[in-house]
Symmetry: C2
């Protein structure tokens, strides 16, 4: 770190570096942005001065001049309670890491608020985006909660704002924006095959209600894997909302009626609901019933005897998102594409008792 300007001392500017190196300000600027223009010895001298002074370009000035901020906006949705934790935090960390390497920083977007007619304030994500865009605070957005069929992607697209979605444009196959997603069907297929490999024939599905496209996708993986091995799926598919209490009741009925030897779930939360029912009945996961979740949440990793779970590759997802961002914001022509990543399976005691 070396130099400590401290408070009060103003950070060095281009002019300071120039004076120290005995060149003009523009030459210093070139040394930073177009080093190839400089003669080797000049470049050396300037670089030394930069290090000596601990100089770093003032972001505001650079942003103003270039019209870019090298910031990407990311909305953080509220953390739901009583849900096996989402893997959002893993994605966020990976995104920060990957963005940093590409020279971008991640700015968290707070929801804006719109005043309703009666004066109450309603949280409004779009207003959050809009404000940032209008004030040219960010260069692009990363949108994560596309599964809600939410209007944010549509709005951003209409606004011609650069963005990358983490999640497929389910409702609009003609969508032209860049996206990255995890192949849910591949994940549940992996899970189902894992169970069938261990001898299970009656593998039930506990998923979300029909409206959810993601839920449908994940169900497909289970269904195809079952049919591929000539396993009957009749009466084995059950649905409930992604919340512990309701899911518990459905899981209990499912176990009684369908009598499966294994269950693949659309989320770790649903899998936990199944574990609750087992615990109530004095049954042991992995022995009396095999259970697989989806997300590889912290809960899956720590609940006894370990919950086997489909693990979305968040680090690769973040890298793919940043790659798309680079393309989008880069100088060259860029055709947005979709990237589908295959998850892995974290095997634990709920399917392989130790």
């Amino acid at each position: 770190m070396g130099i400590d300007p401290g408070q009060g001392t103003l950070p060095p500017t281009l002019a300071d570096v120039a004076e120290r190196a005995g060149v003009s300000r523009q030459t210093v600027s070139n040394a930073i942005n177009n080093p190839s223009l400089l003669r080797a010895d000049t470049l050396d001298r300037v670089r030394r001065a930069i290090v000596d002074l601990g100089y770093l370009p003032n972001r505001a000035a650079r942003n103003l001049r270039t019209g870019t901020s090298r910031l990407v906006g990311l909305r953080v949705p509220p953390v739901p309670e009583s849900t096996a934790n989402s893997t959002m935090d893993r994605f966020v960390h990976a995104l920060v890491e990957a963005s940093g390497l590409a020279g971008y920083h991640v700015l968290l977007v707070a929801d804006g608020y719109t005043e309703a007619a009666d004066g109450t304030r309603m949280p409004d994500p779009i207003k959050g985006y809009d404000d940032l865009l209008r004030s040219t605070a960010v260069d692009a957005f990363v949108v994560t909660d596309t599964y809600l069929g939410n209007p944010q992607t549509t709005w951003l697209a209409e606004r011609r704002a650069p963005f990358v979605a983490f999640g497929r444009p389910w409702d609009d196959p003609a969508a032209r924006h860049a996206w990255v997603d995890v192949d849910g069907a591949a994940g549940t297929r992996l899970a189902t095959e894992h169970l069938m490999d261990r001898g299970h024939q009656r593998v039930a599905w506990l998923g979300w209600p029909a409206g959810s496209r993601i839920g449908q996708d994940r169900r497909t993986g289970w269904e195809r894997a079952m049919l591929a091995r000539r396993c009957d799926t009749g009466g084995l598919a059950w649905t409930t909302e992604d919340s512990l209490e309701p899911a518990r009741r459905v899981a209990a009925t499912m176990l009684d009626v369908a009598r499966p030897s294994a269950v693949v779930c659309a989320s770790d939360t649903l899998a936990m609901a199944v574990l609750h029912v087992l615990a109530e009945r004095g049954l042991r996961p992995g022995h009396d019933l095999a259970v697989v979740g989806f997300d590889d949440s912290a809960t899956a990793q720590t609940v006894p005897p370990g919950l086997t779970s489909v693990r979305p590759p968040m680090d690769r997802a973040a890298v793919a998102v940043v790659d798309a961002l680079r393309g989008l914001l880069g100088a060259e022509q860029f055709t947005p594409t979709g990237v589908l990543l295959t998850p892995t399976l974290s095997v634990r005691g709920s399917t392989v008792p130790s």
Copy 2:
């Protein structure tokens, strides 16, 4: 949002608003920053023009001019695996919310990298802070992982960089910076009293090794609560690192040797280790042994039969942090203080069987 500049169309500037309102640029600036200087009708006219054009001040320009960014930096530490998820994401969300209300945005800080002599790159949080500071990208930092006795706070303090710590300056009671923390002792006292109220006499402690100040703090709460009710603590305190596997072994020994009827743990991860041992032995949490965790993680909320856990008030913590930030960055003289928040107890099946 009404107006859609679209891409290609440049966002409106002060000059555009001024022209439309028939005033000078400076008047528009005053309308935004010093509305009291304007005559009511002029203000009205300017405001209408602002709305009509969907004008928002260009952040880069404002930042350059004022020397502030209205951004606070927050480092996101890597997400540990095989640990009951931290409550970091709850804090982050609350912080974004609270900051937004105060006119600040949260910028995530990626670790910098320092090249070692042998050319390997080591992640270096301080370099991340330093770069942001040098480039005047943020006005202040929020530092969260102070419990590591980490050098970040010391470094920031020496650098005279404004920051608020979420976590006490354990190692330096003379520290002059603003901090917000959760009273761990109060939390474990709450937990212990809850257990004693339910008739438990032999309440064991499963905590972290002696080096951890936070661990020590949390242990104090258990110890004091026990002694206050004349309960012997001899042989009841056990320690292990905050990781599932090692903790499991210690927990097993602890149950055999100390024979407690209840356990208070320094974290949800440790509590999960206890639940593992119970599961292995066919014992039921809440019936055969009462268990309390700390963090109120997603895991505590979803594991059967529900893990009673101390819940740190993240929303209040975030508000307190932003309050301190305001003071720090505000015009008036501000004396940094410490704020200690009392957690609550989320009671579930692991102490109160249903």
